[in-house]
Symmetry: C2
Subunit: 221 residues, 2 copies
C-alpha cells in the first residue's frame, strides 16, 4: 500500500498522525493546538491542514473556536455512556452482518497479538497496551465486510479509546489487572475464531467492551 503523494495521500497521512496523537494522549484533552505550528511541521499551509482538523472536529475529537484556538475535546465518562452502549451493540453486529471467514493470515496476525499480550503481562506498559488495543480492534474489524459498519465502529472506538487509556494511566484502574483481563480476552477471542465461530468471537468482544466500561465507571467515583 504505497502512500501516494497526492492530495488524498497527504490528507490521510496528516489525519492518521494527528488522530493517533490525540488518541495516545500525546495531545491530552484540553490541549490548545496551533494551526500554524502544525502546518509548518507537516510542511503545508493552513488550508489543507484545516481540512484535516475539520474532519477530526466532525468526529468529535477536536473543537475549533473562533478567536480562541483548536481544542482537543475533553472526555467525560458520563457523556460517553451512550457511545459505549452503542459500541456494545455494534460489536455484536460485526459477527452477524456480512461476516468474513477468517483466513490463515488473520489468524497468524492474531497470534502475533496474543504474543504481544503475553509480553505485556510480563512487563506492563500503558502506551504499548494502548497500541495493542488499537491493533486488536482493527483485527476485529476484519471480521465483517460491511464497510459502513466498520467505519462507524471505528469512529466510536476512537472516541472512547482515550477515556479508557486515561483510566489506565491515571491508575484509576490497575494496569496489571487490566492487562491480564485483556490477555484472557484475546485468547478466548482467538480460540473462537480458530474454530470459525465469528459470532462467539463477537460476543467475547462485546463482553469485553461492556465489562471494561463497568470497571471504569466503578473506579471513576
Amino acid at each position: 500500500m504505497p502512500e501516494e503523494d497526492s492530495a488524498r495521500g497527504r490528507f490521510g497521512k496528516m489525519y492518521h498522525e494527528i488522530r493517533m496523537r490525540i488518541c495516545l494522549l500525546d495531545y491530552p484533552p484540553g490541549t490548545r493546538l496551533s494551526e500554524e505550528a502544525m502546518a509548518r511541521e507537516f510542511g503545508v499551509s493552513r488550508t489543507p491542514l484545516r481540512r484535516v482538523l475539520g474532519r477530526l472536529e466532525a468526529e468529535g475529537l477536536l473543537q475549533s473556536v473562533h478567536g480562541v484556538g483548536t481544542l482537543v475535546t475533553d472526555v467525560e465518562i458520563e457523556e460517553l455512556i451512550q457511545v459505549y452502549r452503542l459500541r456494545t451493540e455494534l460489536a455484536e453486529l460485526a459477527g452477524l452482518l456480512d461476516p468474513v471467514p477468517p483466513d490463515a493470515k488473520l489468524i497468524a496476525s492474531l497470534d502475533g497479538l496474543v504474543a504481544r499480550a503475553k509480553a505485556l503481562v510480563a512487563r506492563p506498559d500503558p502506551r504499548g497496551f494502548a497500541q495493542l488495543n488499537i491493533d486488536f480492534f482493527e483485527a476485529h474489524m476484519a471480521l465483517t465486510a460491511n464497510e459502513p459498519l466498520r467505519e462507524i465502529s471505528r469512529r466510536l472506538y476512537y472516541q472512547t479509546h482515550r477515556i479508557w487509556l486515561k483510566s489506565v494511566t491515571s491508575r484509576r484502574i490497575d494496569l496489571v489487572e487490566e492487562v491480564q483481563v485483556f490477555d484472557r480476552e484475546v485468547e478466548d477471542y482467538v480460540r473462537a475464531l480458530r474454530i470459525g465461530d465469528l459470532e462467539a468471537a463477537a460476543h467475547v468482544h462485546r463482553a469485553h467492551i461492556s465489562m471494561s466500561f463497568t470497571r471504569m465507571r466503578k473506579n471513576a467515583a
Copy 2:
C-alpha cells in the same frame, strides 16, 4: 431556534440546503457542481463552501476530483445493500437504547404526518412523498436520546434516501402502491407509540425499511 449569523450558523444553512438538494434529486447523481457558482449563490467565497462540501464528501454524498469537478455520487443498489442491512439493525436499536417516552407534542406531530400521508394517498406526488418520508424519519429519531445513534442513523438514512426516491420517480416502483404501504406503516407506528410501546414502533419501522429494500431489489432487475 434562531439561525445565528456566526460561522457555525452559515455552515449549517449551506450544509442542510445542499444536502436537501442532493437528497431530493435537485442535484441528480452524476451532476458536476461548480464550487465558484455555488459560492456566489450563497454569497461567500469558496473557502467556507469547501468546508461544507468536504463534510458532504465524508458522508458519501459528494466526491471531489482534482481537475475534474465536484460530483454528486452515484447510487448503486448493489453497493447500498450493506448500508440497508445496517440501517435495519439500527432501526431496532432506536427503540431499545436510551428510549424517550413520547410526549403529547410528538404524538401530535405524528398525527400531522398521518394526515399528510392520507392526503398523499388521495393525490400522490413523488416530491411530497420524499419530504414526508424525511419528516417521518426525523420523528422516529426522537424516540432515542442516544445522540451517537441518532447521528449515525441519520447519516445512513440520507445515504439511502436517494436510491429509494429514484426507484419511485423512475416508476420502477409504483408510486401509488408505495404511498399506500407507507400510509399503513405510519398508522401502525403511531398506534404502537400511542400506547407507549417504543419497541413495537421500532419494529414496525425496521420491517418497513427491510420490505422497502426488498421491493426495490425485486424491481431493479
